[in-house]
């Protein structure tokens, strides 16, 4: 009896000790993440929360829809949104059209060759946005490389309007986003079992048919992930449209900055910012759902 009671007591003691250890472990783990969380809270959560407040409350501290109403009714804001979506969609389209075949090509290369191609993809990845924007200005400007070349060939008699417009903006953004798109797509393609395509070929499928029905569906999660990433990042672009658009392309980010620097209009700027944030959040939610749908359909 006494022995059993003592054993039970010890068991209880052990369990209390283990629970204490688990609590300590949780506490320690949390403590490690605290500095990081603090920086994010100070620099992102609080300022953005403040923007929400500014957008929804008037100067007198009462809730108001005025800032949002103004965005939807006047001042050409709607056109700014439209331009932003147009430019972003065009960038995604350009990335998908060029990137998917390119990734398919790299995927099949031998290690050393693939490495060279990766270097070519990574170099612009590490190059400053500003350097690349400047390079495009040199290439596309009135007296730029492309126009000088075309004029000397006699293809055109007047310089083509290549720079400072939507075309230049989309080109510059595709140049920046293509590496971002390629990385998840290449990752997804690398996961595809090589024997599947060999089996399709062995069963007599044509090249295009096998590519469309076997390879592409398996690469689809990576392609959608890349496309959504590119789209969401494109929505927030500021530097490239501001330089390559030359004032002829107004996107949301530029309008936000202008509302502040030119008009000190915090209400309009924060309302636009909140809408941009909501669009970004919604897109991420949609992409998550889409990915889930594709994966579960494939499992069936």
């Amino acid at each position: 009896m006494a022995i059993a009671a003592e054993a039970a007591g010890r068991d209880l003691y052990n369990r209390a000790g283990l629970a204490r250890d688990a609590r300590l472990d949780l506490f320690l783990s949390m403590a490690f993440t605290l500095p990081g969380l603090a920086v994010v809270a100070i620099c992102v959560v609080i300022p953005c929360g403040w923007l929400f407040y500014l957008s929804a409350f008037g100067p007198d501290g009462n809730p108001t829809w005025d800032n949002y109403r103004r965005v939807f009714t006047g001042g050409g804001y709607l056109r700014v949104f439209l331009t932003t979506f147009q430019v972003s969609l065009a960038t995604v389209a350009a990335c998908v059209i060029t990137g998917v075949p390119f990734a398919t090509f790299i995927n099949k290369l031998r290690q050393e060759q693939a490495r060279l191609f990766l270097a070519a993809i990574l170099l612009p990845f590490w190059t400053s946005l500003l350097v690349r924007a400047y390079a495009w200005l040199v290439l596309l400007g009135r007296n730029g490389v492309v126009n000088t070349f075309l004029l000397s060939l006699g293809v055109t008699s007047d310089p083509l309007p290549l720079g400072y417009n939507q075309f230049a903006t989309i080109l510059g953004m595709t140049h920046i986003m293509l590496p971002v798109f390629l990385l998840p797509v290449l990752g997804a393609m690398r996961e595809i079992d090589r024997t599947y395509m060999q089996a399709a070929a062995g069963f007599g499928a044509g090249r295009a048919f096998a590519y469309r029905t076997v390879f592409l569906p398996l690469a689809l999660p990576g392609i959608t992930a890349g496309a959504i990433l590119v789209f969401v990042m494109s929505l927030g672009f500021y530097v490239t449209p501001a330089i390559l658009g030359g004032g002829n392309v107004q996107v949301i980010s530029m309008r936000i900055a202008r509302s502040l620097t030119n008009f000190s209009n915090w209400g309009a700027a924060s309302a636009l910012g909140v809408l941009l944030l909501v669009a970004t959040g919604l897109l991420f939610a949609v992409s998550y759902g889409l990915r889930h749908m594709i994966l579960s359909r494939q499992r069936r």
Binding site: D25, G36, V40, C43, A120, L122, L139, V145, I243
Partner: protein
């Protein structure tokens, strides 16, 4: 280009040609800044004529540019020094947490990478105006640190994911205190990822435009801020010089990454 299908020579040639075109599109445009930097002219024209080192001399003599270069370097180094330990500890802590907490913590930590940077910039501008941090190095480094923490966190999380935690436990149970266990067992094995995240953090800070545009001024004005203003308003030939120097730095980084990085950058 597909498994199980043999490419005809013609198709093969077309594939290589298209791929080469795309590589040229990705890699070549930036190289144009190199010849442009040797221009002797005031205006943007190609080919540059006459050739000279005039703008290099101008860059070295210009107070605006040299001060900006110094501010950029200081901001980059400080950002790296702060964000690497903070991000790495966050990744370590997140790894030790249960699945649900881990998801919560990691989604909060990567938030700065997901939110459009213009929002962070104007939000910081608003908050800093009240704290008198506009134009201060502290404010700039804090803002850049927020942007680089997600980068460090993602790289280090991947590293910790592959790291066998039993090694740390074994070291501890063999009598090492946590400091010894970290310095002699954990850190030496994570040298690659730590170096990679430091490099990424430094480059991110060095290239950052939007936050710098809003909250850096005077002494803390960075190279990207000066470059952006010039590119937007009136292109100054010195830009080509600065671009060439930045491009040179980027090529060095890519060379290092390709030589040592295959274990670090799983692409």
């Amino acid at each position: 280009m597909l498994d199980g299908f043999r490419d005809t020579p013609v198709l093969d040639r077309i594939n290589w040609f298209m791929a080469a075109l795309l590589v040229a599109f990705l890699a070549a445009p930036s190289l144009i800044v190199i010849p442009m930097s040797f221009s002797g002219s005031q205006y943007l024209q190609f080919p540059p004529h006459p050739l000279s080192l005039r703008w290099y001399a101008y860059f070295a003599d210009s107070i605006t540019w040299t001060h900006a270069a110094r501010a950029s370097l200081i901001a980059g180094v400080l950002t790296t020094v702060v964000s690497v330990p903070v991000g790495a500890f966050a990744a370590y802590g997140a790894m030790r947490l249960g699945a649900r907490f881990r998801l919560l913590v990691s989604s909060l930590i990567v938030l700065p990478a997901v939110i459009p940077v213009i929002l962070i910039a104007i939000g910081l501008f608003f908050v800093y105006a009240r704290l008198n941090l506009i134009g201060s190095m502290l404010g700039l480094v804090l803002g850049h640190t927020a942007l680089t923490i997600p980068v460090v966190f993602v790289v280090m999380s991947a590293a910790f994911g592959q790291f066998d935690r039993d090694q740390e436990r074994a070291a501890r149970s063999l009598g090492a205190d946590w400091k010894q266990a970290w310095l002699t067992v954990v850190l030496p094995q994570l040298r690659g990822p730590v170096a990679a995240s430091a490099l990424l953090a430094f480059v991110t800070s060095l290239d950052e435009v939007v936050i710098a545009m809003f909250i850096s001024s005077g002494e803390s004005t960075t190279i990207p801020k000066v470059m952006f203003t010039s590119l937007r308003d009136e292109v100054e030939p010195t830009i080509a010089v600065v671009s060439t120097l930045l491009l040179f730095a980027a090529s060095l980084v890519v060379a290092v990454v390709l030589r040592k990085g295959s274990a670090v950058f799983k692409v």
